[in-house]
């Protein structure tokens, strides 16, 4: 993919110290997608490098390469200037690289000490785990990061913040030189975030190189020394944080010509069809009110964890809200289960295709007709000819590529699986379609097909809600955008108010 991009700043390369760990011209491709294209990254002892980019920019892929989970197709990993190969996660650990993930990968049923030392516990006689030594050392590490946690309690008895501290302690237990923190503050309260900052300072003082991944600009400017920006799998800028402004960073992150790649459509907004008032959930979201018109595409933007999917699933009847009302065509409706939502004309294309969207072990036609069986059957008896007819009608509208309609959905590419899920819902002739990250993880060609189709649906008068974390998609497709932050509506934007900068600003609360 071609794009205009600013030349990467060279300030890092001229710095006196040599990096502890660096990537040079690393490329990684997956079938149909180039996740990283010739990116470079350098991490220095005692410095915090912030890695910035939209969702899908390639940050997670970099983390997985640095921790030995993925191997690059080309390019170099260097440790202290010497080429290294991380063929396994073990190799990366041996080289002193450790990662603290967004969702902690720890074990609820094990004790804190066992979690910290799983895989490298101190051994006693006969090669058995020396529990006492393990607990003592765990206590020392926990004290070192100021965490007041008993190493003997089970992990499941800890809160999310303390679990994070355990993850950090685990990272430190391997004598790490490079610590990767992948959105470490995403689930923390303000007070806990302050404690985390103090911890990062402590790690810096110990001379560890830190890669800090975050969407929140305030914290990047507060604790990072250097920055590196990725966009669409490519390096678009890096340098010292003191040389850059917030606005410049946002521009680097999102800057590209958005309007060209999205389909033009005649905006044909009709009557109000859906009104949501005061939707609330005890933990996930609060006070959500908005309305939607026929033929309108309403975008929902926000950071991961802002409560967008949780709200959509409540609207679709998967979970129950604690308060709130819904009206469709002016009529109050009660949605207690997805079956109710479908009956009222609301359908939901979930983000997690494999788990929630498609039944991968069943053939295409059965997936498509599943919610429409009442129409294709007679008195409850299946009519296969009708099923094939309906499946053919809707899959051909989406230009599905498959060997036969009898092929299992699991054998299709991600993009084609998504087409099956969308076809399934369109076959129910809905009034309102909710698309949750409709193009996540699918190839460019399918992406364009989904966008085009979405535009076509809106033209035909369907009301579309699109949850997306990709700014170009949100801006390119939506008539109106609701930005959510921490479970609430942060802004409703339309027309001239819509720009990458405003979206990011409202989503991050700056």
């Amino acid at each position: 993919m071609l794009m205009k991009s600013e030349a990467p700043s060279d300030s890092l390369r001229t710095e006196a110290a040599s990096p502890v760990l660096s990537l040079k011209d690393v490329t990684k491709t997956f079938p149909g997608v180039t996740a990283l294209s010739e990116v470079s990254l350098a991490l220095f002892a005692g410095k915090v490098t912030a890695l910035v980019g939209e969702n899908g920019a390639g940050k997670s892929t970099v983390v997985k390469i640095l921790t030995g989970i993925y191997q690059p197709d080309s390019g170099l990993i260097e440790v202290d200037g010497n080429p290294a190969r991380f063929s396994t996660a073990q190799d990366a650990t041996t080289a002193g690289v450790t990662a603290i993930h967004q969702e902690t990968v720890l074990f609820d049923e094990l004790s804190v000490a066992e979690n910290i030392y799983l895989g490298h516990a101190p051994r006693g006689r006969f090669g058995l785990i020396d529990t006492r030594a393990m607990v003592d050392q765990a206590r020392k590490i926990l004290a070192g990061i100021g965490a007041q946690i008993d190493p003997n309690v089970k992990l499941k008895d800890l809160g999310i913040a303390n679990k994070h501290l355990v993850a950090i302690a685990r990272a430190l237990s391997v004598d790490a030189r490079v610590v990767i923190m992948d959105e470490p503050t995403a689930a923390l309260s303000q007070k806990e975030i302050e404690e985390l900052y103090a911890l990062v300072e402590e790690l810096k003082a110990q001379g560890k190189a830190i890669l800090f991944i975050s969407h929140k600009f305030d914290e990047i400017f507060r604790i990072a020394d250097n920055y590196t920006v990725f966009r669409d799998g490519a390096l678009v800028g890096s340098g010292c944080i003191s040389d850059v402004t917030e606005a410049a960073l946002v521009k680097l992150m999102v800057g590209r010509d958005v309007s060209q790649i999205f389909p033009d459509r005649t905006r044909n907004v009709g009557d109000e069809i859906l009104v949501v008032e005061g939707y609330e959930h005890p933990t996930e979201f609060a006070d959500i009110s908005f309305s939607l018109r026929q033929g309108e595409i309403l975008g929902f933007y926000g950071l991961i964890g802002a409560g967008r999917s949780e709200f959509m699933q409540a609207l679709f009847g998967i979970t129950r809200p604690s308060a709130g009302r819904v009206r469709i065509d002016g009529e109050p409706v009660v949605i207690r289960a997805p079956a109710d939502a479908v009956a009222k004309g609301i359908v939901y294309v979930p983000e997690d295709r494999g788990k929630q969207g498609a039944i991968t072990a069943l053939p295409i036609f059965q997936n498509v007709t599943l919610p429409s069986l009442r129409r294709t059957s007679k008195n409850g008896f299946l009519r296969l000819a009708e099923e094939f007819r309906l499946a053919r009608e809707y899959t051909s509208r989406l230009d599905l590529r498959a060997a036969s309609l009898d092929a299992d959905v699991g054998n299709l590419s991600g993009g084609n699986q998504q087409k099956v899920v969308i076809a399934k819902w369109l076959a129910t002739r809905p009034k309102i379609i909710i698309l949750d990250e409709p193009t996540k993880g699918i190839d460019i060609g399918s992406k364009a097909a989904v966008h085009e189709f979405m535009a076509e649906l809106a033209e035909q008068g369907l009301a579309v809600i699109m949850v997306s974390s990709e700014i170009p998609e949100v801006l390119g497709m939506s008539d109106r955008v609701i930005v959510m932050r921490e479970g609430r509506v942060a802004a409703q934007l339309r027309g001239d108010d819509l720009s990458p900068e405003t979206l990011v600003r409202h989503a991050a609360g700056i």
Binding site: G357, I359, A361, L370, L373
Partner: protein
């Protein structure tokens, strides 16, 4: 980028081709092989009345196995079925003592089965408990009630016309039980393979989350399946009690595992999501033929259970080994 719409065929393999290469065909071959072996091993085997007697080895279990197959395909299991038989039989036996007639006994048998199924279904779908745990619990609970009522006693004195269900013949060597088995096999075949309900069962077994997201009322379908399994246990209780003409609390002891064996042997995935009624029907015959053949040869019961166990493991493992070998030789 062309505008020509690609034509996607409905199917690449015909349903007939799929059927020939299926598990059921393999199982049928095994059944025939056992049948032929039996007829060589024992001179008494090829006798219409002997063969008719053989069917009593599996008809009652197979009735429950049909409902169990649907339940296992949906990703659940019911291990309390044999205990439901005990409880239903005990209830019928108690009713006999106060002079209830045959129609009343049948009604009681069916009602107890349905209530037990509803209880299991309630605990699983409403309380969200795992079915394996719930039904291990009710397995002890239901039979425990029978033991409390009966102790080491037994109920007898069933009315003469009640004997028809387990001892009567509809036509020549076709017993009532065999006829009922055939009718139920047909009904379950239609329900699982030809109705929306059956499709929902497969969808739930393959991916309950996506099924729920597709607007299927997963809990309701599962509740109905528990009800059906309870009802079938009630029907089996009527047949078995009628055949034995007495009720002891140990009636049908250990049947739950034989029924699950029958279902799995029939090609139903224990993980849910796949399987068929024809498979279960053939598996019922295979198990009946093996037990009957060994019986004719005077093989003791202990050895019989060893043979059934070995058969189950062998029949399940062979196709997988075959598949692995085929894949390996392909990659080489």
């Amino acid at each position: 980028m062309s505008d020509t719409t690609r034509f996607i065929p409905d199917r690449l393999r015909s349903p007939m081709e799929r059927r020939i290469k299926s598990w059921e065909t393999l199982l049928l071959a095994i059944a025939i092989a056992i049948f032929i072996t039996n007829s060589f091993m024992s001179p008494f085997f090829l006798n219409a009345w002997n063969l008719s007697d053989m069917t009593f080895n599996f008809t009652e279990k197979a009735m429950i196995a049909f409902a169990m197959a649907l339940l296992i395909i949906s990703g659940e299991i019911d291990l309390s079925v044999a205990s439901i038989i005990a409880l239903a039989s005990t209830a019928m036996g108690a009713a006999v003592q106060i002079g209830v007639g045959t129609p009343g006994l049948v009604l009681i048998g069916l009602t107890v089965g349905l209530l037990c199924g509803a209880f299991n279904g309630f605990l699983v779908t409403r309380m969200g408990l795992p079915s394996i745990v719930v039904t291990i619990g009710t397995m002890s609970l239901f039979r425990g009630i029978s033991y409390i009522v009966l102790g080491d006693q037994s109920f007898r004195g069933y009315p003469p016309d009640f004997a028809f269900f387990g001892q009567g013949y509809v036509f020549w060597v076709i017993s009532f039980e065999l006829a009922l088995f055939a009718v139920l096999a047909l009904i379950y075949y239609v329900v699982l393979h030809r109705t929306n309900f059956g499709r929902a069962v497969y969808a739930i077994g393959n991916n309950p989350v996506a099924a729920e997201f597709s607007g299927i009322r997963v809990a309701r379908v599962k509740f109905i399946l528990f009800l059906l399994t309870g009802l079938m246990s009630g029907i089996a209780a009527i047949c078995l009690t009628s055949r034995l003409a007495s009720t002891r609390p140990s009636i049908a002891f250990g049947w739950e595992l034989e029924i699950v064996t029958m279902v799995v042997l029939g090609g139903v995935s224990i993980l849910g999501g796949s399987g068929s009624i024809p498979g279960v029907v053939i598996a019922a015959f295979v198990m009946g033929l093996v037990t009957f053949g060994l019986g004719l040869l005077n093989v003791p019961g202990i050895v019989m259970s060893i043979v059934i166990g070995a058969l189950l493991i062998g029949v399940i493992a062979l196709p997988r080994l075959w598949e692995r070998w085929r894949l390996q030789s392909k990659t080489r």
